[in-house]
Amino acid sequence: MSLLAEGFLSTVALTLLSFAGAFSLGVCVVVLRVVPVPVLRAVGTAYVETFQNVPLLVWLVLFVFGLPEAGITFPLFWTAALVISLYEAAYVAEALRSGVNSVARGQGEAARALGLTTAQSLRHVVVPQALRRVVQPVANIAIALTMATSLAGAVGVVELTRAANRINLDLAQPVLVFAGAGLCYLGLAAGIGALAGLVERRVAH
Protein backbone atom coordinates (compact mmCIF):
# COMPACT_ATOMS: atom_id res chain seq x y z
CA MET A 1 0.00 0.00 0.00
CA SER A 2 3.05 2.28 0.14
CA LEU A 3 2.61 2.67 -3.61
CA LEU A 4 -0.80 4.25 -3.01
CA ALA A 5 0.70 6.65 -0.46
CA GLU A 6 3.47 7.53 -2.88
CA GLY A 7 0.93 8.16 -5.63
CA PHE A 8 -1.26 10.25 -3.35
CA LEU A 9 1.65 12.41 -2.18
CA SER A 10 2.80 12.82 -5.76
CA THR A 11 -0.70 14.00 -6.77
CA VAL A 12 -0.81 16.44 -3.85
CA ALA A 13 2.67 17.81 -4.66
CA LEU A 14 1.81 18.09 -8.34
CA THR A 15 -1.43 19.91 -7.48
CA LEU A 16 0.21 22.39 -5.09
CA LEU A 17 3.17 23.16 -7.34
CA SER A 18 1.11 23.42 -10.51
CA PHE A 19 -1.50 25.60 -8.88
CA ALA A 20 1.13 27.94 -7.43
CA GLY A 21 2.71 28.17 -10.87
CA ALA A 22 -0.61 28.53 -12.70
CA PHE A 23 -1.84 31.26 -10.36
CA SER A 24 1.35 33.36 -10.49
CA LEU A 25 1.58 33.03 -14.23
CA GLY A 26 -2.15 33.61 -14.65
CA VAL A 27 -1.90 36.95 -12.81
CA CYS A 28 0.94 38.00 -15.13
CA VAL A 29 -1.03 36.96 -18.21
CA VAL A 30 -4.17 38.81 -17.13
CA VAL A 31 -2.14 41.97 -16.57
CA LEU A 32 -0.85 41.61 -20.13
CA ARG A 33 -4.43 41.23 -21.34
CA VAL A 34 -5.82 44.35 -19.65
CA VAL A 35 -3.01 46.91 -19.94
CA PRO A 36 -3.63 49.56 -22.58
CA VAL A 37 -0.65 48.48 -24.72
CA PRO A 38 -1.76 46.64 -27.88
CA VAL A 39 1.45 44.57 -28.23
CA LEU A 40 1.23 43.28 -24.65
CA ARG A 41 -2.46 42.55 -25.07
CA ALA A 42 -1.69 40.55 -28.20
CA VAL A 43 0.96 38.55 -26.32
CA GLY A 44 -1.51 37.82 -23.51
CA THR A 45 -4.23 36.77 -25.94
CA ALA A 46 -1.82 34.57 -27.91
CA TYR A 47 -0.73 32.85 -24.70
CA VAL A 48 -4.27 32.07 -23.62
CA GLU A 49 -5.36 30.88 -27.05
CA THR A 50 -2.28 28.69 -27.48
CA PHE A 51 -2.50 26.89 -24.17
CA GLN A 52 -6.26 26.69 -23.89
CA ASN A 53 -6.86 25.33 -27.35
CA VAL A 54 -4.55 22.31 -27.28
CA PRO A 55 -5.32 19.37 -24.97
CA LEU A 56 -3.17 19.02 -21.87
CA LEU A 57 -2.15 15.48 -22.81
CA VAL A 58 -0.72 16.74 -26.09
CA TRP A 59 1.27 19.41 -24.26
CA LEU A 60 2.57 16.80 -21.84
CA VAL A 61 3.73 14.48 -24.62
CA LEU A 62 5.26 17.39 -26.54
CA PHE A 63 7.21 18.65 -23.56
CA VAL A 64 8.26 15.26 -22.23
CA PHE A 65 9.49 13.94 -25.58
CA GLY A 66 10.18 17.22 -27.36
CA LEU A 67 12.36 19.11 -24.87
CA PRO A 68 15.03 16.39 -24.69
CA GLU A 69 15.32 16.56 -28.49
CA ALA A 70 16.18 20.23 -28.05
CA GLY A 71 18.80 19.29 -25.48
CA ILE A 72 16.76 20.18 -22.38
CA THR A 73 15.92 17.33 -20.02
CA PHE A 74 14.01 17.99 -16.82
CA PRO A 75 12.91 15.16 -14.54
CA LEU A 76 9.47 13.85 -15.52
CA PHE A 77 7.77 15.15 -12.38
CA TRP A 78 9.02 18.68 -12.92
CA THR A 79 8.19 18.61 -16.60
CA ALA A 80 4.63 17.60 -15.71
CA ALA A 81 4.38 20.34 -13.05
CA LEU A 82 5.65 22.90 -15.55
CA VAL A 83 3.25 21.86 -18.30
CA ILE A 84 0.22 21.76 -16.00
CA SER A 85 1.18 25.23 -14.68
CA LEU A 86 1.48 26.67 -18.19
CA TYR A 87 -1.79 25.09 -19.29
CA GLU A 88 -3.91 25.99 -16.27
CA ALA A 89 -2.46 29.53 -16.19
CA ALA A 90 -4.49 30.25 -19.32
CA TYR A 91 -7.69 29.28 -17.48
CA VAL A 92 -6.71 31.23 -14.36
CA ALA A 93 -6.01 34.28 -16.54
CA GLU A 94 -9.46 34.05 -18.14
CA ALA A 95 -11.20 33.73 -14.78
CA LEU A 96 -9.25 36.71 -13.45
CA ARG A 97 -10.03 38.72 -16.57
CA SER A 98 -13.74 38.26 -16.06
CA GLY A 99 -13.16 39.51 -12.50
CA VAL A 100 -11.27 42.55 -13.78
CA ASN A 101 -14.03 43.25 -16.29
CA SER A 102 -16.59 43.12 -13.53
CA VAL A 103 -14.92 45.99 -11.70
CA ALA A 104 -16.74 49.12 -12.83
CA ARG A 105 -14.81 51.06 -15.43
CA GLY A 106 -15.29 54.21 -13.33
CA GLN A 107 -13.08 52.74 -10.61
CA GLY A 108 -10.00 52.66 -12.82
CA GLU A 109 -10.81 56.08 -14.23
CA ALA A 110 -11.25 57.50 -10.74
CA ALA A 111 -7.96 55.98 -9.64
CA ARG A 112 -6.13 57.56 -12.54
CA ALA A 113 -7.93 60.90 -11.98
CA LEU A 114 -6.48 60.79 -8.46
CA GLY A 115 -3.03 60.60 -10.01
CA LEU A 116 -2.36 56.85 -9.78
CA THR A 117 -0.43 55.31 -12.66
CA THR A 118 -1.94 52.41 -14.63
CA ALA A 119 0.18 49.97 -12.66
CA GLN A 120 -0.84 51.52 -9.36
CA SER A 121 -4.52 51.60 -10.22
CA LEU A 122 -4.36 47.93 -11.24
CA ARG A 123 -2.44 46.93 -8.14
CA HIS A 124 -4.33 48.93 -5.52
CA VAL A 125 -7.79 49.32 -6.97
CA VAL A 126 -8.77 46.92 -9.74
CA VAL A 127 -6.94 43.62 -9.08
CA PRO A 128 -7.82 43.34 -5.35
CA GLN A 129 -11.51 43.71 -6.18
CA ALA A 130 -11.19 41.37 -9.15
CA LEU A 131 -9.50 38.67 -7.03
CA ARG A 132 -12.26 38.82 -4.46
CA ARG A 133 -14.88 38.08 -7.10
CA VAL A 134 -13.11 35.12 -8.64
CA VAL A 135 -12.40 33.02 -5.56
CA GLN A 136 -14.97 30.38 -6.55
CA PRO A 137 -14.09 30.24 -10.26
CA VAL A 138 -10.40 29.92 -9.40
CA ALA A 139 -11.21 27.21 -6.85
CA ASN A 140 -13.05 25.38 -9.63
CA ILE A 141 -9.92 25.62 -11.76
CA ALA A 142 -7.87 24.29 -8.85
CA ILE A 143 -10.18 21.28 -8.60
CA ALA A 144 -10.02 20.73 -12.36
CA LEU A 145 -6.24 20.99 -12.07
CA THR A 146 -6.22 18.31 -9.38
CA MET A 147 -8.10 15.97 -11.69
CA ALA A 148 -5.85 16.92 -14.61
CA THR A 149 -2.75 15.78 -12.70
CA SER A 150 -3.89 12.22 -13.47
CA LEU A 151 -2.74 12.82 -17.05
CA ALA A 152 0.84 13.02 -15.80
CA GLY A 153 0.54 9.27 -15.30
CA ALA A 154 0.60 8.91 -19.08
CA VAL A 155 4.11 10.34 -19.23
CA GLY A 156 5.80 8.27 -16.57
CA VAL A 157 4.88 10.10 -13.36
CA VAL A 158 3.56 7.75 -10.69
CA GLU A 159 0.63 9.73 -9.34
CA LEU A 160 -2.59 8.49 -7.78
CA THR A 161 -4.28 7.12 -10.90
CA ARG A 162 -1.12 5.45 -12.18
CA ALA A 163 -0.49 3.96 -8.73
CA ALA A 164 -4.07 2.64 -8.67
CA ASN A 165 -3.50 1.10 -12.09
CA ARG A 166 -0.35 -0.61 -10.92
CA ILE A 167 -2.00 -1.96 -7.78
CA ASN A 168 -4.88 -3.25 -9.86
CA LEU A 169 -2.49 -5.15 -12.14
CA ASP A 170 -1.73 -7.28 -9.10
CA LEU A 171 -5.10 -7.36 -7.34
CA ALA A 172 -7.38 -7.52 -10.41
CA GLN A 173 -10.07 -5.67 -8.40
CA PRO A 174 -10.60 -2.54 -10.49
CA VAL A 175 -13.85 -1.44 -8.86
CA LEU A 176 -12.37 -1.58 -5.38
CA VAL A 177 -9.02 -0.02 -6.31
CA PHE A 178 -10.48 2.83 -8.35
CA ALA A 179 -13.21 3.51 -5.80
CA GLY A 180 -10.35 4.02 -3.33
CA ALA A 181 -8.49 6.32 -5.71
CA GLY A 182 -11.75 8.19 -6.37
CA LEU A 183 -12.23 8.76 -2.64
CA CYS A 184 -8.72 10.24 -2.43
CA TYR A 185 -9.54 12.70 -5.25
CA LEU A 186 -12.87 13.46 -3.61
CA GLY A 187 -11.07 14.30 -0.37
CA LEU A 188 -8.64 16.59 -2.18
CA ALA A 189 -11.39 18.38 -4.09
CA ALA A 190 -13.51 18.77 -0.95
CA GLY A 191 -10.47 20.25 0.81
CA ILE A 192 -9.96 22.79 -1.97
CA GLY A 193 -13.66 23.67 -1.89
CA ALA A 194 -13.59 24.18 1.88
CA LEU A 195 -10.44 26.31 1.60
CA ALA A 196 -12.07 28.43 -1.08
CA GLY A 197 -15.09 29.00 1.19
CA LEU A 198 -12.74 30.13 3.95
CA VAL A 199 -10.85 32.50 1.66
CA GLU A 200 -14.08 33.90 0.29
CA ARG A 201 -15.38 34.67 3.78
CA ARG A 202 -12.10 36.37 4.68
CA VAL A 203 -11.92 38.62 1.62
CA ALA A 204 -15.59 39.31 0.87
CA HIS A 205 -17.26 42.20 2.62
Binding site: V58, V61, L62, V64, F65, G66, P68, E69, A70, G71, T73, L76, G153, A154, V155, G156, V158, R162, A164, N165, R166, N168, L169, D170, L171, A172, Q173, P174, V175, V177, F178
Partner: protein
Protein backbone atom coordinates in the same frame (compact mmCIF):
# COMPACT_ATOMS: atom_id res chain seq x y z
CA UNK B 1 19.16 22.53 -30.74
CA UNK B 2 19.09 20.44 -33.91
CA UNK B 3 15.93 18.42 -34.04
CA UNK B 4 16.58 15.43 -36.21
CA UNK B 5 13.95 14.68 -38.79
CA UNK B 6 13.53 11.08 -37.69
CA UNK B 7 13.02 12.08 -34.09
CA UNK B 8 10.50 14.63 -35.18
CA UNK B 9 8.53 12.08 -37.13
CA UNK B 10 8.57 9.76 -34.12
CA UNK B 11 7.30 12.67 -32.07
CA UNK B 12 4.52 13.41 -34.50
CA UNK B 13 3.52 9.77 -34.50
CA UNK B 14 3.40 9.89 -30.70
CA UNK B 15 1.25 12.99 -30.65
CA UNK B 16 -1.09 11.48 -33.17
CA UNK B 17 -1.47 8.51 -30.85
CA UNK B 18 -0.19 6.26 -33.57
CA UNK B 19 1.64 3.33 -32.14
CA UNK B 20 2.57 1.56 -35.33
CA UNK B 21 6.22 1.38 -36.29
CA UNK B 22 7.41 2.35 -39.75
CA UNK B 23 7.28 -1.29 -40.74
CA UNK B 24 3.51 -1.26 -40.58
CA UNK B 25 1.52 -4.19 -39.36
CA UNK B 26 3.21 -7.57 -39.67
CA UNK B 27 1.41 -10.56 -41.10
CA UNK B 28 -0.09 -10.03 -44.52
CA UNK B 29 -3.83 -10.29 -44.89
CA UNK B 30 -3.69 -12.97 -47.56
CA UNK B 31 -1.91 -15.53 -45.33
CA UNK B 32 -4.34 -14.69 -42.56
CA UNK B 33 -7.24 -15.30 -44.96
CA UNK B 34 -5.79 -18.66 -45.99
CA UNK B 35 -5.45 -19.57 -42.36
CA UNK B 36 -9.09 -18.74 -41.67
CA UNK B 37 -10.27 -20.59 -44.76
CA UNK B 38 -9.06 -23.93 -43.43
CA UNK B 39 -10.00 -23.30 -39.81
CA UNK B 40 -12.41 -25.82 -38.26
CA UNK B 41 -16.01 -25.16 -37.27
CA UNK B 42 -17.60 -26.80 -34.23
CA UNK B 43 -20.55 -29.14 -34.74
CA UNK B 44 -23.83 -29.09 -32.81
CA UNK B 45 -23.70 -26.79 -29.80
CA UNK B 46 -25.63 -27.45 -26.55
CA UNK B 47 -28.77 -25.30 -26.56
CA UNK B 48 -28.61 -22.35 -24.21
CA UNK B 49 -24.83 -22.54 -23.80
CA UNK B 50 -22.62 -19.46 -24.15
CA UNK B 51 -21.26 -20.66 -27.50
CA UNK B 52 -24.79 -21.28 -28.74
CA UNK B 53 -25.71 -17.70 -27.83
CA UNK B 54 -22.64 -16.41 -29.66
CA UNK B 55 -23.52 -18.47 -32.74
CA UNK B 56 -27.07 -17.09 -32.70
CA UNK B 57 -25.72 -13.58 -32.28
CA UNK B 58 -23.40 -14.13 -35.26
CA UNK B 59 -20.53 -12.22 -33.71
CA UNK B 60 -17.87 -12.95 -31.09
CA UNK B 61 -17.30 -10.06 -28.71
CA UNK B 62 -13.60 -9.87 -27.98
CA UNK B 63 -11.84 -7.69 -25.44
CA UNK B 64 -8.40 -6.78 -26.72
CA UNK B 65 -5.96 -4.13 -27.90
CA UNK B 66 -5.55 -2.12 -31.07
CA UNK B 67 -1.99 -1.04 -30.31
CA UNK B 68 -0.04 -4.18 -29.49
CA UNK B 69 2.40 -4.84 -32.34
CA UNK B 70 2.63 -8.49 -33.44
CA UNK B 71 -0.25 -9.40 -31.12
CA UNK B 72 -3.26 -7.22 -31.80
CA UNK B 73 -2.62 -4.10 -33.81
CA UNK B 74 -4.95 -2.16 -36.04
CA UNK B 75 -3.73 -1.17 -39.46
CA UNK B 76 -4.70 2.51 -39.60
CA UNK B 77 -5.18 2.35 -43.38
CA UNK B 78 -7.45 -0.68 -43.62
CA UNK B 79 -8.88 -0.86 -40.11
CA UNK B 80 -7.94 -4.54 -40.05
CA UNK B 81 -6.62 -5.86 -36.74
CA UNK B 82 -3.82 -8.39 -37.03
CA UNK B 83 -1.35 -10.20 -34.86
CA UNK B 84 -1.25 -13.44 -32.90
CA UNK B 85 -4.03 -12.59 -30.42
CA UNK B 86 -6.20 -11.12 -33.17
CA UNK B 87 -5.73 -14.20 -35.40
CA UNK B 88 -6.62 -16.59 -32.60
CA UNK B 89 -9.77 -14.62 -31.77
CA UNK B 90 -10.85 -14.84 -35.41
CA UNK B 91 -10.13 -18.58 -35.41
CA UNK B 92 -12.31 -18.97 -32.32
CA UNK B 93 -15.08 -16.91 -33.94
CA UNK B 94 -14.96 -19.16 -36.99
CA UNK B 95 -15.04 -22.25 -34.75
CA UNK B 96 -18.18 -21.07 -33.00
CA UNK B 97 -20.04 -19.14 -35.70
CA UNK B 98 -18.66 -20.57 -38.92
CA UNK B 99 -17.46 -17.13 -39.96
CA UNK B 100 -14.48 -15.21 -38.50
CA UNK B 101 -16.77 -12.43 -37.26
CA UNK B 102 -15.37 -10.67 -34.24
CA UNK B 103 -16.14 -7.34 -32.69
CA UNK B 104 -13.18 -5.94 -30.81
CA UNK B 105 -13.91 -3.99 -27.68
CA UNK B 106 -10.83 -2.15 -26.46
CA UNK B 107 -10.00 -3.46 -23.03
CA UNK B 108 -7.45 -2.16 -20.56
CA UNK B 109 -5.95 -3.78 -17.50
CA UNK B 110 -8.48 -2.04 -15.25
CA UNK B 111 -11.52 -2.94 -17.36
CA UNK B 112 -10.86 -6.56 -18.26
CA UNK B 113 -12.44 -8.21 -15.23
CA UNK B 114 -15.59 -6.03 -15.25
CA UNK B 115 -15.98 -6.45 -19.04
CA UNK B 116 -16.11 -10.21 -18.56
CA UNK B 117 -18.25 -10.29 -15.45
CA UNK B 118 -20.89 -7.90 -16.82
CA UNK B 119 -21.02 -9.71 -20.15
CA UNK B 120 -19.80 -6.85 -22.37
CA UNK B 121 -17.35 -9.26 -24.00
CA UNK B 122 -17.36 -13.04 -24.42
CA UNK B 123 -13.60 -13.52 -24.32
CA UNK B 124 -10.42 -11.53 -23.68
CA UNK B 125 -7.36 -12.03 -25.90
CA UNK B 126 -4.87 -9.50 -24.58
CA UNK B 127 -1.58 -10.97 -23.31
CA UNK B 128 -3.65 -11.69 -20.22
CA UNK B 129 -1.18 -13.35 -17.88
CA UNK B 130 -2.76 -16.13 -15.87
CA UNK B 131 -2.30 -15.53 -12.14
CA UNK B 132 -4.04 -17.21 -9.19
CA UNK B 133 -5.30 -13.80 -7.97
CA UNK B 134 -6.92 -12.99 -11.30
CA UNK B 135 -8.35 -16.50 -11.43
CA UNK B 136 -10.47 -15.56 -8.41
CA UNK B 137 -12.25 -12.98 -10.58
CA UNK B 138 -12.27 -14.57 -14.02
CA UNK B 139 -11.67 -17.96 -15.61
CA UNK B 140 -8.75 -18.66 -17.92
CA UNK B 141 -8.73 -21.07 -20.84
CA UNK B 142 -5.26 -22.07 -21.96
CA UNK B 143 -2.49 -21.01 -21.52
CA UNK B 144 -2.40 -20.52 -25.28
CA UNK B 145 1.01 -18.90 -25.41
CA UNK B 146 4.06 -18.48 -23.24
CA UNK B 147 6.22 -15.45 -23.53
CA UNK B 148 8.97 -13.88 -21.53
CA UNK B 149 10.15 -10.44 -20.54
CA UNK B 150 13.49 -9.28 -21.87
CA UNK B 151 15.74 -6.31 -21.20
CA UNK B 152 16.84 -3.80 -23.82
CA UNK B 153 19.41 -1.03 -23.44
CA UNK B 154 20.86 1.60 -25.72
CA UNK B 155 23.96 0.17 -27.42
CA UNK B 156 27.13 0.97 -25.54
CA UNK B 157 25.50 0.95 -22.11
CA UNK B 158 27.17 -2.06 -20.58
CA UNK B 159 26.29 -1.70 -16.89
CA UNK B 160 23.28 -4.01 -17.13
CA UNK B 161 24.33 -7.55 -17.93
CA UNK B 162 21.70 -9.61 -16.11
CA UNK B 163 18.21 -8.97 -14.68
CA UNK B 164 19.55 -8.51 -11.12
CA UNK B 165 21.60 -5.55 -12.37
CA UNK B 166 18.33 -3.62 -12.69
CA UNK B 167 18.37 -3.15 -8.89
CA UNK B 168 18.45 0.53 -8.01
CA UNK B 169 18.22 1.54 -11.67
CA UNK B 170 15.46 3.42 -13.44
CA UNK B 171 13.64 0.97 -15.67
CA UNK B 172 11.15 1.85 -18.39
CA UNK B 173 8.13 -0.39 -18.89
CA UNK B 174 4.90 -0.32 -20.84
CA UNK B 175 1.98 0.83 -18.70
CA UNK B 176 -0.18 -2.06 -17.53
CA UNK B 177 2.06 -4.75 -18.99
CA UNK B 178 3.33 -7.90 -17.27
CA UNK B 179 6.79 -6.25 -17.36
CA UNK B 180 5.99 -4.27 -14.22
CA UNK B 181 5.45 -7.31 -12.03
CA UNK B 182 8.49 -8.97 -13.61
CA UNK B 183 10.75 -6.03 -12.74
CA UNK B 184 9.39 -5.80 -9.20
CA UNK B 185 10.11 -9.48 -8.69
CA UNK B 186 13.65 -9.60 -10.03
CA UNK B 187 14.78 -6.16 -8.79
CA UNK B 188 12.47 -4.75 -6.10
CA UNK B 189 14.59 -1.60 -5.69
CA UNK B 190 14.33 -0.62 -9.34
CA UNK B 191 12.41 2.58 -10.05
CA UNK B 192 9.78 1.86 -12.71
CA UNK B 193 8.78 4.55 -15.19
CA UNK B 194 5.75 3.72 -17.32
CA UNK B 195 4.74 5.00 -20.72
CA UNK B 196 1.59 4.13 -22.62
CA UNK B 197 2.99 2.61 -25.78
CA UNK B 198 6.05 0.85 -27.13
CA UNK B 199 7.27 3.80 -29.29
CA UNK B 200 7.01 6.11 -26.30
CA UNK B 201 9.02 3.70 -24.15
CA UNK B 202 11.68 3.49 -26.87
CA UNK B 203 11.87 7.27 -27.25
CA UNK B 204 12.14 7.63 -23.47
CA UNK B 205 14.94 5.04 -23.33
CA UNK B 206 16.92 6.81 -26.03
CA UNK B 207 16.39 10.17 -24.34
CA UNK B 208 17.91 8.81 -21.15
CA UNK B 209 14.71 8.63 -19.09
CA UNK B 210 15.80 5.21 -17.88
CA UNK B 211 18.74 2.81 -17.88
CA UNK B 212 16.86 -0.07 -19.45
CA UNK B 213 13.56 -1.02 -21.04
CA UNK B 214 11.78 -4.22 -20.09
CA UNK B 215 9.21 -5.59 -22.51
CA UNK B 216 7.97 -8.79 -24.07
CA UNK B 217 10.87 -10.37 -25.95
CA UNK B 218 9.04 -10.62 -29.28
CA UNK B 219 8.30 -6.88 -29.23
CA UNK B 220 11.88 -6.02 -28.34
CA UNK B 221 13.21 -8.19 -31.15
CA UNK B 222 10.89 -6.35 -33.54
CA UNK B 223 12.09 -3.01 -32.17
CA UNK B 224 15.75 -3.95 -32.38
CA UNK B 225 15.32 -5.12 -35.97
CA UNK B 226 14.23 -1.58 -36.87
CA UNK B 227 16.49 0.37 -34.56
CA UNK B 228 20.25 -0.23 -34.63
CA UNK B 229 20.70 1.79 -31.41
CA UNK B 230 18.82 -0.82 -29.42
CA UNK B 231 20.44 -3.88 -27.87
CA UNK B 232 18.86 -6.83 -26.08
CA UNK B 233 20.49 -8.12 -22.90
CA UNK B 234 20.50 -11.91 -22.62
CA UNK B 235 17.49 -14.17 -22.83
CA UNK B 236 13.98 -13.61 -21.36
CA UNK B 237 14.02 -13.79 -17.56
CA UNK B 238 10.35 -14.68 -16.99
CA UNK B 239 7.74 -17.06 -18.33
CA UNK B 240 4.34 -15.43 -18.72
CA UNK B 241 1.51 -17.83 -19.52
CA UNK B 242 -1.16 -15.95 -21.48
CA UNK B 243 -4.73 -17.18 -21.11
CA UNK B 244 -8.06 -16.53 -22.79
CA UNK B 245 -10.07 -14.56 -20.23
CA UNK B 246 -13.60 -15.92 -19.69
CA UNK B 247 -16.48 -15.31 -17.33
CA UNK B 248 -15.66 -16.87 -13.95
CA UNK B 249 -18.50 -19.36 -13.52
CA UNK B 250 -18.90 -20.66 -17.07
CA UNK B 251 -17.15 -24.03 -16.83
CA UNK B 252 -18.88 -25.32 -19.99
CA UNK B 253 -17.48 -22.48 -22.12
CA UNK B 254 -14.02 -22.88 -20.60
CA UNK B 255 -13.96 -26.58 -21.51
CA UNK B 256 -15.16 -25.68 -25.01
CA UNK B 257 -12.41 -23.07 -25.53
CA UNK B 258 -9.78 -25.44 -24.14
CA UNK B 259 -10.93 -28.16 -26.54
CA UNK B 260 -10.68 -25.67 -29.42
CA UNK B 261 -7.16 -24.67 -28.34
CA UNK B 262 -6.10 -28.34 -28.29
CA UNK B 263 -7.58 -28.79 -31.75
CA UNK B 264 -5.74 -25.82 -33.35
CA UNK B 265 -2.52 -26.88 -31.64
CA UNK B 266 -2.89 -30.42 -32.98
CA UNK B 267 -3.79 -29.32 -36.52
CA UNK B 268 -0.90 -26.87 -36.76
CA UNK B 269 -3.12 -23.79 -37.18
CA UNK B 270 -1.65 -22.42 -33.97
CA UNK B 271 1.85 -22.67 -35.45
CA UNK B 272 0.75 -20.98 -38.66
CA UNK B 273 -0.80 -18.11 -36.73
CA UNK B 274 2.49 -17.76 -34.85
CA UNK B 275 4.56 -17.78 -38.03
CA UNK B 276 2.37 -15.08 -39.55
CA UNK B 277 2.73 -12.77 -36.56
CA UNK B 278 5.40 -13.20 -33.90
CA UNK B 279 7.34 -15.51 -36.24
CA UNK B 280 7.91 -12.59 -38.64
CA UNK B 281 10.47 -11.16 -36.20
CA UNK B 282 11.49 -14.10 -33.99
CA UNK B 283 13.85 -16.39 -35.85
CA UNK B 284 13.55 -20.16 -35.87
CA UNK B 285 10.69 -22.62 -35.76
CA UNK B 286 7.42 -22.01 -33.96
CA UNK B 287 7.74 -22.96 -30.29
CA UNK B 288 5.93 -25.89 -28.72
CA UNK B 289 2.60 -24.52 -27.48
CA UNK B 290 2.10 -24.71 -23.70
CA UNK B 291 0.04 -27.57 -22.29
CA UNK B 292 -3.55 -26.55 -21.61
CA UNK B 293 -4.14 -26.17 -17.87
CA UNK B 294 -0.41 -26.07 -17.07
CA UNK B 295 -0.44 -22.60 -15.49
CA UNK B 296 -1.52 -22.05 -11.89
CA UNK B 297 -4.95 -20.44 -12.20
CA UNK B 298 -5.88 -21.95 -15.57
Amino acid sequence: MGIRLTSLSVLLALVAGCTGGPSGVPGSTSTADQLLAKAPVAGELPAGSTMDKIRKRGELLVGGSLDAPLLSQQNPATGEVSGFDAELSKLLAKYIIGQPRTKLVTATSETREPLLSNGTVDVIFQTYTITPKRAEQVAFAGPYYESGQSIAVVKGHEEIKKPEDLAGKTVIAGANTPSIAAIQKVAPTAKIVEFGSDPECLAALKQGRGDAYVQDQALLIADASLDPELQLVGEPFTTDPYGVGLEHDDAEFKTFVNDWLREIQRSGLWHEAWRGSIGTVVKGEAPVPPAIGSAEGS
